[in-house]
Symmetry: C2
Subunit: 192 residues, 2 copies
DNA sequence: GTCTATATGACGATAGAC
DNA sequence: GTCTATCGTCATATAGAC
């Protein structure tokens, strides 16, 4: 199944844009930068995308879907809150190390500054799914019955902040090095 | 002690810029926007500040210092890690509710996109001080002896993420409502 | 110090040939 | 579909009168 040339070029634009947006920021990246780094002309670029913003939106939706699917897989493989949440964080740490730009664009970027329509990523599908894991865990007696937002945040918030610190260059070692200790703190905080 | 007119105008520029930067983002705010909202001319504005970036930097330094001083006060008032860390988070939650723009600019903004020289806020003076609180707590046997970055993050990371959620509009209630529960989770995670 | 007017340049996006 | 050339706009910053 060969990818059509059209699809290949679309993906080239998206992956170039992802790299530039995360390295220099959306506003410091010009359409011309994207076009030059993708080895095509402005005209071609505008043939594939309506404008700069639509590149950013497509990219965002793709990554969001990708994370959502990963969470659905995790839901199927595990049957309790403890191992589901653990797997989610492990997956996010892993993705940050292996494919930093993706997590950086999804979590770290302030989307609303250039995509006014978008809501917070933390109110989007993958994180609603994660919240379901937590609420189910409370029903099952695994997690203390505190306000769900607080429980969710106690588990996920510190993990996401670890990712931020790593992206910021504050942590020298890979996230995998910190994973077990960090997870233990999170779980101690909420377990019943 | 009357403020000189000069000082008043400087502060007017800074507070206007803070409001605009946090509401619309640095790149969506033009110098002309700042000038119009401050009721002065471009020329005057450039008489007080070298350029747009220097407004952003001055603002950032001021807020950073302000938080650092608050932490020094907390250090004096409390003599153990538990109550120091608790007071820090309480202070940050409080400031977020009372003076949202300040915390938003300090923590939420991606400074490096427009101030290339700055390092991560989490590697700056106030957060080094906070880390001292944690390390001292480990020495005193209050906090488990895990990697200091992890301990620090378990306490502060989830709190900061709560602030992010509040700024993002994901949390409907004020942070004070969540404070006790959230703090309890954090402390359970790290206490010896 | 404060203003108005303007220089300068970059950027997003389009036109139109091939 | 792809390219080059270019348009219109707007932003930062400066010049120069008062």
């Amino acid at each position: 199944m060969d990818k059509s040339k059209k699809q290949k070029r679309q993906e080239a634009i998206l992956s170039t844009a992802l790299r530039l947006f995360t390295n220099m920021g959306y506003f410091n990246t010009s359409v011309s930068d994207i076009q030059l780094s993708s080895d095509m002309s402005v005209g071609t670029l505008y043939n594939y995308f309506q404008n700069k913003e639509s590149i950013a939106i497509t990219l965002y939706r793709n990554i969001e879907n990708c994370l959502y699917e990963a969470l659905c897989e995790i839901e199927k493989k595990h049957d309790n809150a403890h191992s589901r949440c653990r797997a989610v964080i492990n997956h996010m740490f892993d993705t940050t190390e292996r494919n930093s730009d993706v997590m950086q664009y999804l979590l770290y970027t302030k989307h609303r500054e250039f995509m006014p329509v978008e809501k917070s990523v933390f109110a989007s599908l993958p994180f609603l799914k994660m919240k379901d894991f937590v609420i189910q865990g409370q029903k099952d007696g695994e997690i203390r019955k505190i306000e769900p937002n607080v429980a969710m945040n106690a588990i996920l918030g510190s993990a996401i902040h670890m990712i931020f610190l790593r992206i910021d260059g504050v942590l020298d070692d890979s996230l995998q090095v910190y994973f077990e200790d960090s997870w233990e703190c999170s779980w101690r905080g909420v377990r019943a």
